[in-house]
Amino acid sequence: MNATQTSPIESASPGFARRRQRRVRLVLFLLSLIVSVTGFVSFDYFYSKAILASAVSGGPHGFCFSRDPVRAFAFQANCSCIRPWLGSSYTFNTNSLGFRDERIREVPLSDSRPRILILGDSAPEGMTDWQDSFIGRIAGQFPQYEFLNGSVEGYSPSNYLNTARMVMQRGVKFDEVIVFIDVSDAQDEAAFFHDTDSSGAVAIASGKLSKSTWYSNLRLGINNHLLLTNEVFDFIEKELVGFGWYHLDLGHGGNEFDLERSAWTYRKVSDDEPYETGYAPLGLERGVEKEKAKMDILWRELKAQDIPISVVVYPWPAQLAHDNVDSRQVRLWRDWCEGKCTRFITLFPAFFAIKDACPRFQPGCWYLSHFIFGDTHFNSAGDAVVANVIEKSLTEIPPEKRQASPGLEAAPTGLTPGAREKR
């Protein structure tokens, strides 16, 4: 460059040069940003591919599911596998009844200890290692009782009944049934399960409709293929949820804080759309009636065997975010329990107390601390809360070994003696 030459920056007027430089800076920043993001995502893609490939080859991954002529699906008996669940995994074993258990084992027809049959959905089944799940914790705390965990994800009262029948038909003796009623049971009865005949055998809805947005698709893609990017999104979403922004759509079927499955207790839901965006064909109210009817049959059949029944209700994140402690779900099952249950336990007060204890600047802390992030299931801390409440009830009203007197019927007019509501 000779003495008469000037750079383009120098040759322009000061104001123009400043504006121009600002534009150049912006372009440089954006270029760098594009290069950075592209580099990050490319690295993440290959890294995630390697990690996911090594994870799959690292153990006997599976679900231990099998088809069942009565319940549509059930767990295989004496199965062991590692089940992946939302970015982590846990060991899963079933016993000879096809129930989740600490280890593979043969369940004898009877046991010298009082035996409690647990019926429920995925929450009591536990989406974590056995010792962290609330049934595993309770079983560990009360070795004087034997727990048979007949809970299977996706089940509802139709299959609670079918499971109890299966156990009785096999001649396996038990002394109490505790049913964990899930808020999604209403939709399952209305739209997912339908009776194939008068025996109570069920079949499931053929299709599954889910509402997806561009964001939920993107989020699901990131979740499945880009582990590091997913971490970044998780971090931001956790902060937002912590600040009380209850919107979390990770592509698992909608906003975790307003899923159609759990919304019926605090808002109107669709009776026209099929599973799982609505409650067709039966509609919500008929679905609720159906689940109560199935529970009535279960109660009657157990009563015929002199087996007491207990009911537990627990909240989903959506209910904690939008509902209240005296949710329609709580009232419904408390009323149903009147005159039928040994114990009616609601976990709503315990979890609302945790929510109320969150600091003002982090009103959503309850979700981060007690639920698996991006899920409706309790995490280890949430499971501990559930276990604690159930353990208190088992201490106050200890399960008793039932005398073998088939056909003996009691005729309770109110709550059975000693029964009380746990709050």
């Binding site: 121009r20 430089q21 800076r25 760098s32 950075s36 890294y47 590091l228």
Partner: protein, 484 residues
């Protein structure tokens, strides 16, 4: 983010604000001292009491020496500092290893944070006074010298002749100071995260920490991987911290000594020790090695002094046999290097070929990195087992350390080398274009305002390191040099 980090950040922001507006030196000094003591107090009131006592006694000894410089007063002051350091730093270790009932009560004595750093600062002040340096700090200035919050916890070790004029300056930090300081802090934060990643590994329980603490039956390649991995870990951790300390001081307009200058590019052990923990190695050179070496002119004495200086370097970290061996090892390396240089001179051989430099670098790095085994091993037997694995040819056919750690160490070493190369290339290009301005506006702005395009790269690198770190152990982040 811990409350203490927030407090330090708040203090820094407050400091920048005060130094931008307040011109009175006294007011500035008083402000800095109060903030420094307040922050130090968060580590424990007892720690602050020890620091205050040391400050008061060293100030009085210094004043005494200014009036009447004598070797007796100097030794009184040095003895006080050595006893203080020995009492807190070495007595608990002795109490654990010596089965004497009267010593047992000292076995759980808490080590005041940064005592090794500010005690060495106090000793250098007394030594400088004895040498005739014109130092007349007020009590306020001396207190600040001892407790200056960016450096009080883990250095760099400052010297009074450098700091006093800065304490007395009423100049406001410039925009350049703030910019450079911020970039140093950003660099430091990234480096410290990289150190945490190396410690924990990409996969849980497969980092350098687990490699040393949870594995036995190492193979030769494992030991090399762990030695290099730990070398990088301790470098990123301490150099990262030093960047933050230097950057924080710079943002308030202070220039404190550098601690690291690309030590992994050193081609001889001597060069390495002018680039690694420079504030300590220069302290030992100026106040231990040179005064000792000048007592006698014989070559063997100089070599002996070198050995003594390096043992002191090792023992400064911790008073264990492994650290004595670490010092001896490096002392021997320095002596061997001297011998090699003497042999070269005798033979009148001046190796200039690039290949020789590369070879020298490889040998230096291999030897320096092997030294980290003594620095990091949990016991003498562990260090012995690791060195044996190195010498056993059959062990080179297997590995006990996870491949993910091999990949991580190699990847980070290459990334670090790449970053250095990129910085050098940019600097060289900037120099060339300064002489003959580029016609491209993009290049001109890109070279001048590097933060514009470095900021997204830095953010991405931080995100990458943070997301790669296994979640379950993320809470246990600890700065390693805090324990020295």
């Amino acid at each position: 983010m811990s409350l203490r980090v927030l407090l330090y950040a708040g203090a820094l922001l407050l400091g920048i604000g005060v130094f931008a507006r307040v011109r009175s030196c006294r007011a500035r000094q008083a402000f800095l001292l109060v903030v420094s003591y307040a922050l130090y107090l968060t580590w424990g009131a007892w720690f602050l009491a020890v620091l205050l006592a040391s400050t008061a006694i060293n100030f009085l000894v210094g004043r005494w020496m200014r009036r009447k410089p004598s070797l007796t007063i100097l030794w009184t002051g040095l003895a006080f500092n050595l006893v203080l350091l020995g009492f807190f730093k070495y007595l608990p270790g002795i109490a654990v290893s010596v089965p004497l009932a009267s010593l047992q009560k000292f076995s759980h004595l808490a080590l005041p944070l940064g005592i090794s750093f500010w005690t060495f600062q106090a000793m250098s002040y007394l030594l400088d006074l004895y040498r005739g340096e014109e130092l007349d700090p007020s009590f306020l200035e001396f207190g600040l010298y001892m407790a200056f919050f960016p450096v009080a916890i883990s250095g760099p070790i400052c010297r009074m002749p450098d700091m006093l004029p800065q304490f007395r300056s009423g100049q406001a930090p410039s925009r350049d100071d703030r910019g450079r300081g911020l970039s140093r802090i950003a660099t430091g934060l990234l480096m410290m995260q990289v150190a945490q990643l190396l410690g924990k590994g990409i996969l849980s329980g497969q980092g350098v920490n687990a490699g040393f603490d949870q594995i036995s039956g190492w193979s030769g390649p494992d030991v090399w991987c762990l030695a290099l991995g730990y070398g990088l870990q301790v470098f990123f951790d301490f150099a990262g911290y030093s960047h933050i300390a230097i950057g924080a001081a710079r943002m308030m307009g202070f220039t404190v000594p550098e601690n690291f200058a690309r030590p992994f590019t050193s081609t001889t052990p001597s060069i390495f020790w002018t680039r690694w923990h420079m504030s300590l190695s220069f302290w030992i050179r100026d106040y231990v090695f040179l005064p000792l070496a000048m007592l006698r002119r014989q070559e063997w004495w100089r070599k002996f002094c070198l050995l003594v200086a390096m043992v002191l370097f090792g023992v400064w970290h911790r008073g264990t046999l492994l650290f004595v061996l670490f010092g001896c090892y490096h002392g021997v390396l320095l002596i061997l290097h001297r011998q090699t240089q003497q042999a070269e001179r005798k033979l009148n051989w001046q190796p200039t070929a690039r290949a020789w430099t590369v070879w020298s670098w490889i040998v230096t790095m291999a030897l320096v990195n092997l030294g980290w085994i003594l620095f990091r091993a949990g016991s003498l037997s562990q260090a012995g087992e690791m060195f044996s694995a190195l010498l056993l040819p059959t062990s080179y056919s297997r590995h006990a350390v996870s491949f993910s750690l091999y990949g991580l160490v190699l990847g980070l070493a290459l990334a670090y080398a790449g970053a250095l190369y990129a910085i050098d290339t940019l600097d060289a290009y900037a120099e060339r274009t300064a002489a003959a301005p580029s016609r491209s506006e993009f290049i001109a702005v890109g070279l001048r305002d590097r933060w514009v395009w470095i900021a997204p790269l830095w953010t991405t690198a931080c995100l990458l390191v943070l997301t790669l770190m296994p979640h379950q152990t993320r809470a246990a982040n600890v700065f390693m040099y805090r324990f020295f």
